[in-house]
Symmetry: C2
Subunit: 354 residues, 2 copies
């Protein structure tokens, strides 16, 4: 960081492009969430879907962690699943169980019935929430990240009807009905590309694509055959957005080069792989985001600091590191640990500039 | 396989030691299970725990797939969790939900209350079932595999109270209470080493240690610090058994060398990593077991065969490959596909000997 310049307002975006920064930027996946008392207070009055579908509430929740902590980016409060509703699936969030799709895809005919409506028709509240947040954050020079799920991850929810341990139905369709799988993935690329481009138009300064489950479900050959072509098309289309794109996945270390080859300016990695090994695989000309184990935030600060130091040391102060968790923040995380984490990452990474 | 000799009776055990065989041995994780109509017929009359705790029933279920298919090894019908019952935890299998521990570990005090009784006191039915199966299989020259869970995987069930998506409670104890974690893992090593040694004494010709969740839950540094010392001690103790030991884990590709360094004559790998890359990491002087994605067995044979060919081609006919799935067989697997798989692996791998 010898050439570091003091431009806090664009720290995150500079790091996305691999440019020197005064200190390592940090934001946290699911930073607007149940670990915050302000969030829980709103959740007592509204369901998750009500909060997502009311622009003022989504904007408020998005801004809560920006007020509480010195974070370098906001991420719009939303969920990866609402685009499936526009396609014809019925979604609800069941307390204690998580998301449930009430009419999951169970045949190739179901695939053909899925629509591909434009985001403006079905996801307008999220686009409007983005506009509100951007108006709020722009004067402070803070960027807002938009996001969506990658096609495989969305397909797995649409077919399993919710979360899954083995993705058996998803992979059975994929392996046994390759033509239907292609039609499904094509539709998902269409819907997700449109949704992400609209988020950029609404003011999102960066976009993150979550492929949360492909790496847990698939080996390298299956990834290359059934996922990579669609992710590549999605990332290629997103180049039109003119903003940095983050390609996040979990469990993909065995074929991280191939994941990175699909696209994205920044590769987001999970806590299962050492950051240094991951960066070596994707190449130091590409920015990297990660990868503290979110559960370390439940430990006392002395123990937590050891894990934070390790991530910073593995990044070694190279330009192009965005500090983040290796998965979403846990709902039992102490707020004080989040504050200390954010401030410590800024302070400690300045040392590399010295 | 130039030096291959025709010793079908010891094909599996020869492969465990890296010796040439006439064709690749094959067995399937969870090969005694719900995909078989014979198994489902018994399950209508008995619960899983009744079947495990009745030696004659456990032996019968173990032998069902040996009658139906030309498998090269049996694995005793049991479960990884019953050892926890002897330690003081209450276990049941809830239909549609899986295993539930009704009094999970939730404090360091709970750890101290756990007992470490000998397997002979609490797990005698499984040891007796092993003796019955061995009497049945020995005349046919077929080996029986005993098994148990690795300490981390058992700890995760004991602390979460069942399956988990994020292992948050387990890792919170691990990160925040390292002294209690050590006491817990020490106790689990004691119990599991004793249990596995007793299985070998009862006649098991090989032992498999399942560390099913460590790789899904932990990164490399955490694995080395909180898991590897205990696995190493377990595998070192098992050398006394005088039978081959299989070290199976999932999601551990980012640190497979370190997993293999803990011990085991055979390294079992999941479907997420290419077999060739895994074997290169652990070294060709060590036998390897794996790694067909079990969900490919739900596809038509033409598609399935493509995936089987890939696994065989990655192994390349080298001595020391044991064909298996990369995870347990799925309950909806067509029996015919299992039969074709077993016969095809034998037939196709003979080609490498030519």
């Amino acid at each position: 960081m010898a050439e570091a310049v003091n431009t806090p307002e664009s720290r995150f975006l500079r790091a996305c492009r691999g440019l020197p920064v005064d200190c390592t930027p940090i934001w946290l996946m699911r930073q607007a969430g149940r670990y915050m008392p302000e969030y829980r207070a709103l959740r007592e009055k509204y369901t998750i879907l009500e909060m997502i579908r009311t622009p003022e509430l989504a904007a408020e929740v998005t801004l809560q962690p920006m007020r509480a902590f010195d974070l370098d980016a906001a991420i719009i409060f939303a969920d990866i699943l609402p685009p499936l509703v526009g396609m014809g699936l019925e979604l609800s969030f069941v307390p204690g169980k998580g998301p449930v799709i009430h009419n999951p895809i169970s045949s190739t005919h179901d695939v053909d019935l899925l629509g591909t409506p434009p985001a403006k028709a079905h996801l307008a509240p999220t686009l409007e929430a983005i506009e509100i947040v951007v108006r709020e954050l722009a004067p402070r020079g803070l960027p807002l990240i938009g996001f969506a799920g990658a096609p495989f991850t969305l397909a797995s929810y649409a077919i399993e009807g919710g979360g899954s341990k083995d993705y058996a139905k998803t992979k059975a369709l994929m392996y046994a009905e390759p033509a239907a799988w292609k039609r499904l993935m094509d539709k998902l690329v269409t819907v997700q590309a449109d949704y992400l481009l609209e988020q950029a138009r609404a003011g999102a300064a960066a976009l993150q694509v979550f492929d949360s489950w492909a790496g847990m479900a698939l080996g390298k050959e299956a990834y290359l055959r059934y996922v990579a072509p669609y992710n590549t098309r999605l990332f290629t289309t997103l180049e039109r957005a003119g903003v940095p794109v983050i390609n996040f996945s979990t469990g993909t270390f065995p074929y991280l080069e191939e994941v990175a080859a699909c696209g994205g300016d920044v590769i987001g990695v999970d806590f299962r792989m050492p950051l240094s090994a991951a960066w070596g695989k994707i190449g130091y000309d590409r920015a990297i985001q990660g990868n503290l184990d979110p559960i370390t935030l439940l430990a006392p600060w002395r123990e937590l600091r050891h894990h934070v130091d390790r991530v910073l040391d593995e990044a070694g102060g190279r330009p192009g590191h965005i500090f983040n968790l290796g998965h979403g923040i846990h709902r039992t995380t102490p707020v004080d640990n989040v504050r200390r984490l954010v401030d410590y990452v800024h302070a400690r990474s300045r040392e590399y500039a010295d």
